[in-house]
Subunit: 339 residues, 2 copies
DNA sequence: AGATCCCCGTCATACGTATTACCGAATGCG
DNA sequence: CGCATTCGGTAATACGTATGACGGGGATCT
C-alpha cells in the first residue's frame, strides 16, 4: 500500500514478448551465447520503456547477499566520522558495494526490539570506536573493528595513537617543558586509554617530568572547566596536553580567562587534527589522524574477510603537526605578552 | 558463500516440533487465540536456542516494505548533518523505522552503474540540501526535501533562513553599521541564494546602507582570502556577514592578519551555529538553525507521506544568537589603517 | 536424406517469510 | 445424541529474482 507497485521482470518479459528468464539473463549480463543480440536489445528497450528496476529484496533473497555493509559509529555529530565514511565508501564502490551508516542505538530512545539499527540485510559490519565487549552482537556477522584496540579475534584497523602522543610529549620535552597537564576525555574508549598511557609513560621517562591530570566531557565548556582546575592548582603546568582538538578549544578559553598568552605563557596541544585545529587562533599543534584512510583500510579488510581471507591487524601512524600553539615554557616566548 | 547459512523459521519449526506457519505466527505476535500459550512458549524457546533471526530480505520481499528510509546528504564532513540524522532517527525509531545514510554519488569515483548509493531496498527518501532539479530520481520513491527550497510538488521542510539573515542585518543596523561586507559561499544551493537575497534586501532598505560581496569556497583559507579582498577594497565594510560559521572563522583570520580587533574594529557574523561558533574567540554571533528539528520534522513528513497523507510545507525559524563578535562600528573616522 | 549439433530460449524451481484458507478434534448447546 | 461453534494448528501460496535443466528447430555433416 505505501509504495505504488513497480514493474517486475515479468512485466518486462510480457512487454518484450519473451519469458521472464530471458529478461533476467539479459539484464544480468549472462546472456552471451544464450540470447540473440536482437532479443537482448528488445529486452533492454522494454525495460527502459517501463522504467524497470530490479526488486532488491527479491534479489537479495535469491542471491543471499546484499553487497551492502554497515558502518556503525558512536555518533555522527563528531566531525571525525565523516572522512571515515568517505574512505570506506570509496573503496566499497570500487567493488560494487554500498555503505550505509548507523549509530549505536544507545540513545535510550529507540525501542530495543531491533538488535542494532533495524537492519540485518547486510553482508558485514565496520564497527568504529567501540568498546571491545560490545562486539558480541557481531558473532554472526563478519565484522572489522576500527579505532577500537585489540579485537579478540576480530580483524582490526587502528591509529598509532600511542606513538602520536609520544611524538607530542617528545616535542614538548624538547622545547623544555617539564610540568605537563593532561586534559583527558572522560570516555571509556581504547583510544583515550592509549593516549593517557603513552603520555604518562613519556613524561615519567623525562628527567624532572611531572604530570597532573583532570577529566572532562568532550565539549568546550566542560574542557574549559577542567583546564581551569589544572591551571589554578599549585605548581601549575606549562603545557596542557588535550585528548582532542575540541578539548583544546576549551583549554584556549581557560587560558584567555586567566590572561595567559598562548603559546607565550602556556602551550596547548590537541589530537585528531579536525577542521577546528586551523580555525583556532593561534593554530593548534596536534596529531593528524588519517581518518579517511582508516575507513578505506577498514573496508579493504572487511572485503578480504568476506572473500574468506583473514586480514591481519593494521596500524595507521599519526603525524605530528606543529603549528603555533606550542613554544618553550616561561618568558622564553618570542612574542610579547598580551593583555 | 560469504556468510554462513543461518537458521530459518523452518529450522525453528522442526526444533519445536511444529509447522513453519506456527513459528511465523508466534514470532509475528499474531498468535493470540490461534496458538496455545504452551506451544508459543516452546516455539520461542526453540528460536532462542537456535539464535534465530528472521531473514530481512525474505521479510521485505513478502511484505513489500522495508521500514527503512534513506537520508541523503551532500557530504558527511560538514558538521551540520549529524544532528539532522539524529533527529530523523529518533522519530523513525518511534515508528519502527530505521534510517540509513548515504551521500550523493558525485564523487566521480563510484561506478555509475547504481542509480544512487546501491540501494533500492528503501521505503522513502529524505533528501537534504539538494538542487531541486536533482530530484528527478525520486519520481518513483516517496521523498521529502530538506533545506532545499520549494520542491515542485515534493513535500519540503526548510529553515527560515531569510528571516534569520534579516535578523542579523537588523541587529547590525541597530548597532549603527551601514557598510556591510558579505562573504558568500560559492555554492549553488537554495539556502545560500536565500541568504544573499535577504541580506541584500535588508541592507538596501537601510538608509545609507551599502553592501559589497565576495565569494569563496566553504573552507577557512578560501574564506580568509575573500574576506581580505573585501577589507582591503576602498571604503571597507565595518562588518563581515558570513554565509556560515566556518567562513566566519576565515574572516577572523583575515581580521587578525590586518591587525583589526573583533568586534572593536570589525564585527563578524556567522550562520548555522555549529560547534565552532562557541570555540572561537570571541564567540561568534550567528543564527542557530534547529538541525535536529529539521531531521525530525522531515521524518514526520515522510512518514505521513508513506501513510498516504499529503504533508504541507514547513518552515523552521532560525534564532539570532548574539555573542561577542558584534559591536557598534569603530570610532568612525578610523579608515587610514595600516595593511 | 537422416543423424548430429548448436543456437535461442523457456520451464521449473528455490530463496525464507507472512498470511489466507482450511481442517480435525474437542466442546457447548438444545 | 446430533449439530454448530470454537480452539489449535497445518497446508498452500505468493512475493520477484536468478539459474540449472530441458527442448525445439534449423543448419551442417556424412
Amino acid at each position: 500500500m505505501p509504495a505504488i507497485s513497480r514493474p517486475t521482470s515479468k512485466d518486462v518479459a510480457q512487454e518484450a514478448g519473451v519469458s521472464q528468464s530471458t529478461v533476467s539473463l539479459v539484464l544480468g549480463g549472462k546472456w552471451t551465447g544464450r540470447v540473440s543480440p536482437a532479443t537482448a536489445r528488445s529486452v533492454r528497450d522494454a525495460a527502459e520503456r517501463l522504467g524497470y528496476r530490479p526488486n532488491q529484496a527479491a534479489r537479495n533473497l535469491r542471491l543471499g547477499t546484499t553487497r551492502t555493509v554497515l558502518l556503525m559509529v558512536p555518533t555522527l555529530t563528531a566531525p571525525f566520522f565523516g572522512p571515515v565514511y568517505t574512505g570506506a565508501a570509496r573503496v566499497a564502490a570500487r567493488h560494487g558495494f554500498g555503505v550505509v551508516v548507523s549509530t549505536w542505538p544507545d540513545d535510550a530512545e529507540g525501542p530495543a526490539e531491533s538488535p542494532f539499527g533495524s537492519d540485518e540485510a547486510i553482508d558485514g559490519v565496520l564497527a568504529s570506536s567501540i568498546a571491545a565487549d560490545a562486539l558480541g552482537r557481531f558473532r554472526e556477522t563478519p565484522a572489522v573493528m576500527l579505532d577500537s584496540g585489540p579485537g579478540g579475534g576480530v580483524p582490526t584497523v587502528d591509529f598509532g595513537v600511542a606513538d602520536g602522543m609520544r611524538a607530542i610529549a617528545g616535542h614538548l620535552g624538547a622545547l623544555g617543558h617539564r610540568r605537563f597537564g593532561h586534559v583527558a576525555a572522560g570516555v571509556d574508549q581504547w583510544t583515550f586509554r592509549a593516549r593517557a598511557e603513552a603520555l604518562a609513560g613519556t613524561v615519567a621517562a623525562l628527567p624532572g617530568g611531572v604530570l597532573s591530570r583532570d577529566t572532562c566531557a568532550i565539549d568546550v565548556t566542560s574542557a574549559k572547566d577542567a583546564a581551569l582546575r589544572l591551571l589554578t592548582a599549585p605548581g601549575p603546568p606549562t603545557v596542557l596536553v588535550c585528548d582532542d582538538d575540541l578539548i583544546a578549544a576549551g583549554a584556549y578559553k581557560a587560558a584567555r580567562a586567566l590572561g595567559l598568552d598562548v603559546p607565550g605563557d602556556l602551550s596547548i596541544t590537541g589530537f585528531d587534527d579536525v577542521l577546528l585545529a586551523t580555525a583556532l587562533e593561534p593554530e593548534l599543534t596536534t596529531v593528524r589522524l588519517p581518518a579517511e584512510e582508516l575507513g578505506a583500510q577498514g573496508m579493504t579488510a572487511l572485503l578480504d574477510l568476506l572473500a574468506g581471507e583473514r586480514p591481519e591487524p593494521r596500524v595507521l601512524p599519526g603525524e605530528l603537526v606543529v603549528r603555533e600553539s606550542t613554544a618553550p615554557p616561561g618568558e622564553g616566548g618570542d612574542k610579547g605578552r598580551r593583555v
